[in-house]
Amino acid sequence: MTLHLIQRSPFTHQALSNCLKTLMPEDSILLMEDGVYSIQHPLLQDILTPAAQAKPTSIYALIDDVNARGLEAFNHTPILNISMAEFVEQCAQHKHVISWY
């Protein structure tokens, strides 16, 4: 229902942590700007384990931000690299969009 935009590094800011505290089952997460460093953070990795939830949260990463930072080789399924156009579409497909910074 809600698309959460993570705009800060989880190693420096609590943006991801605060987002996860209120995450609802149908929500999705999009990593952008320094938020893409989340792919190396245990908080995000924990919610990716199949046991973590019945319906897994969809997690996207903005590919331009991933590539700029040299994280291409680190990203892995089920985190989906998406383009800016797909980011726009994801915003359109979710009822609410919340930025975390």
Partner: protein, 119 residues
């Protein structure tokens, strides 16, 4: 057009202007007769602390500014119990009119909103 708007207030006051900027947005929206609910989330709960006094740092006292909210018919002020506990705070430490909720109650509130904005 009257909409149900949830405002996430997530910043501590004084260190950054975002707490004040969020409040200015809220007061404007209330003046235009919107149905506002406020969740003070994370460090946003510090905005509600009693006994603030901004004078010594050239600032307006934020908690005093929040006291006008009931005059704008904004009476839905929430905090998550986890956020209070993390900061070793209780309801007694906060200005009056705040309600503590759990995560599932937050989800019920979210589901009834037309729009959400976060500061």
């Amino acid at each position: 057009m009257k909409k149900k708007i949830l405002v996430l207030m997530r910043q501590a006051p004084y260190g950054s202007s975002l707490a004040r900027d969020g409040l200015d947005y809220i007061l404007t929206s209330a003046a235009y007769d919107q149905d506002i609910t406020i969740l003070f989330l994370g460090d946003g709960v510090w905005q509600l602390l009693k006994q603030q006094n901004g004078k010594s740092i050239y600032a307006k006292t934020h908690s005093a500014s929040l006291e006008v909210l009931p005059m704008y018919d904004i009476e839905s002020l929430y905090v998550l119990s986890d956020d209070l506990e993390d900061r070793q705070l209780s309801l007694n430490d906060l200005i009056p009119g705040v309600e503590i909720i759990e995560k599932d109650e937050f989800h019920q509130i979210m589901n009834t909103q037309d729009s959400v904005i976060g500061f």
